[in-house]
């Protein structure tokens, strides 16, 4: 989503550590890898082997696979792999692209992953969450994410949601959580 990419481009720097919690087709992983560069480090997670393979292929084509560690596993296992001091964590909720059977992220795993991501953030680091509500279970997952955000201490985190006003109501929207 353009607003998420705007944020990443403005705030990620060479040498940063970043996480793509939902690789999917690998487009966000590729952007993260380009922005943090060879001196940086990216972790990418996906529950689908096909998504990990597609992401790996995309990174290879663009010559940036060496700074990326891909994990074939759900983002609820983030803290098992990623060390503290993370600058950016990206979540794309909803359908996992390319899955043969309809497969979506779940509120339980997403909330677990968000908690771990918030712990791992460096000061000034941020979580970007692209929220989709147009599929079954989407509104419930969106509400779970917002409830999690509302409970964050305003002394430790800024949390805001950005919705497009001149698009259909089911258009994806962006939640940003920043560690102050």
């Amino acid at each position: 989503m353009p607003l998420a990419h705007f944020f990443l481009r403005e705030r990620l720097r060479s040498g940063d550590v970043a996480v793509d919690a939902t690789c999917g087709n690998g487009q966000d992983t590729l952007l993260l890898a380009r922005l943090v560069g060879a001196r940086g480090r990216v972790w990418g997670f996906d529950v689908q082997a096909s998504a990990i393979a597609a992401t790996h292929a995309l990174l290879e084509v663009h010559g940036v696979s060496s700074c990326v560690e891909l994990i074939h596993g759900g983002h609820e296992r983030l803290a098992q792999f990623v060390p503290p001091g993370v600058r950016a964590v990206v979540f794309n909720l909803g359908y996992l692209p390319g899955s043969e059977t309809p497969l979506t992220t779940t509120p339980e795993n997403t909330i677990a992953a968000l908690g771990q991501a918030a712990e791992l953030l460096a000061r000034g680091g941020f979580i970007l969450i692209c929220v989709y509500t147009g599929h079954e279970g989407g509104p419930e997952e969106a509400e779970a994410v917002e409830e999690w955000c509302r409970a964050l201490s305003p002394k430790l985190f800024n949390a805001w949601s950005s919705r497009q006003l001149n698009r259909p109501a089911v258009a994806p929207y962006l939640v940003v959580v920043e560690k102050v």
Copy 2:
């Protein structure tokens, strides 16, 4: 508001043209003047003579008054003074700070000014609107602003609202309109 200032700092450059539609105490005017610099140009509007005087004094103290033209008049007169090609227009709705009698912006004038601002924007330019809902008439003005945004052509404008999730419900929120 911090998010508005983040946007301005990221996207305004030396030599740009910017408008503060509601000078108030002049803090936003000062930021705009600093960002566009001596090669740029800022127009500032306020219906209160005291606000224009306070803004002028603040700009003088910081040595940046020469690039700013202050207009003692409402923002609904924007198009009378400001030429096309504007990079940023900032609105702070709600109470006008420092007024002796409670004085607020009104939906009619605000919507008129927004229409003029949208016309005057350069491509890639943007309008930032800080919306307050905690005062009498605030929710109605907020609704008028969002209704105006919803009617913008998605081919010509991106429009989104950003609300803080872990702050009280009456906290101000930000509406951004970008000309594509």
